[in-house]
Symmetry: none
Subunit: 248 residues, 2 copies
DNA sequence: GAGTGGTCTAGACCACGAA
DNA sequence: TCGTGGTCTAGACCACTCG
């Protein structure tokens, strides 16, 4: 066999998805063990490297834990783990944006005042552009959250590239305008799902929602972009690892 | 050559640390490229796999970005994350623990099984100690969240110091037993406030709550301590900063 | 002692980016 | 076109866990 004619997707991602699906469907119960690496090699007809890359992904998604000597244990079955977001760095934010899809509505002009001005870190009266959107997971393509994106009018040009390439909005601004993001500040809270967002996401109004507000700041502390997201509580968990240092 | 007599540390971690140090020292300036994988293989006398594992680590630390065709670019000179971010974040955790007050209830013995075993990353049947508590802000002294703390029976001695000094539980374990926390994994989600917690916190059952589950891990990946907290949504927001150092 | 995942080698072809 | 990183194979030894 050997040389695989790849259909565009890396084999290890395919395998990761199959295993992910099987976990969600209950083929591998929570608390139980996945087949060993060796068995998976035979099952999928691939080398150990490929299997290990797939398992690495499952571990990064927090679906399994792995320990030498004892095996690969399933720790979560809930499909929301699929959308669990694990951030230690901006690179993770970017990866998350690539694994999902953000569909944005038409441009609106808004004036920063009151709570919005505070959110944007802008002077009251300043003009901003707003795009109401919904973020979907790629497969299955289900809505995860509503997202309102705010950018300064100067960056209106990135509109042309909305949806044309996956990735985070801030990358578009960096690429088109050379305005570098130095810092992201985010606030996470629990809120009651408002009626409008509930309808879009297909949940009951008033059900619990995870709200995330992000500000993307330039080196001088100016807000370049901001976003307000409301996540279905049952499909989203924010996970993070805090490492003390790099020595182990 | 071949078989390396390893001094205990994986070779790829050694290489990662050497490259990290060189970046910090300015040998590879921000914006510049690291040597190619091939060159690094020759330099260190290792296979490409080992070099790639080392580079993967640098990427996870946000020190470099990698793109096929163009190379490995240095994006940060400061080892942010290893020290800056995680240190800052752990410090934040500690600061939070100092600004508030955790009142713990009596010791209970619990057996890890099912969901609890998964939470603790423990084998089913293992014995743990549980303390149900409530965290208050110092002034005004109002309840912020309920917190269940889980520790291994070996660390029962820290009970004596509950409430005698402010700070996080994990610090007590580190000080009394010398068991160092290497990593904290946390999951943040929105949930409906359960009846019992609602009574303690003085809110309506079913109102939105921010749930935070934390596992404190030793260097070998063992869970030292775990906690489950439910926060009043109106009194708690989780805020964080993701910095990208060295952007020029 | 048997079997697990962790590390490592020495090859190979492929997709992409820049000259 | 050429060199980069991305994917992949088929081996190997090692450290750890558990019966």
């Amino acid at each position: 066999m050997s040389r695989r004619a790849r259909n565009g997707r890396p084999r290890y991602l395919e395998i990761a998805r199959i295993l992910e699906r099987d976990i969600v469907r209950g083929k591998y119960p929570v608390g139980g063990l996945l087949p060993t690496e060796n068995e998976l090699c035979k099952t999928f007809g691939v080398s150990r490297y490929t299997v290990r890359e797939a398992l690495r992904r499952l571990r990064d998604l927090d679906l399994v834990t792995r320990r030498q000597g004892s095996g690969t244990q399933v720790i979560t079955r809930l499909p929301r783990s699929t959308y669990t977001q694990s951030f230690v760095s901006l690179a993770d934010l970017l990866q998350y944006a690539k694994d999902t899809y953000l569909r944005l509505g038409p441009r609106e002009k808004v004036t920063a005042r009151g709570a919005l001005a505070r959110l944007l870190g802008a002077s009251p009266g300043q003009q901003w552009l707003k795009y109401a959107g919904v973020r979907y997971s790629r497969e299955p393509a289900v809505p995860i959250c509503t997202t309102d994106v705010y950018i300064r009018p100067a960056f209106v040009g990135i509109e042309q590239r909305f949806g044309k390439q996956p990735g985070a909005i801030y990358v578009l601004i960096e690429e088109m305008y050379g305005e570098k993001i130095a810092e992201v500040v985010q606030h996470i809270s629990a809120v009651s799902m408002p009626v409008a967002a509930a309808r879009v996401l297909g949940v009951e109004p008033g059900s619990p929602a995870l709200g995330i507000v992000r500000r993307y700041l330039s080196g001088s502390g100016q807000t370049i972009e901001a976003s307000v997201s409301l996540h279905r509580a049952d499909r989203f968990t924010y996970s993070m690892r805090i490492r003390r240092d790099g020595t182990h």
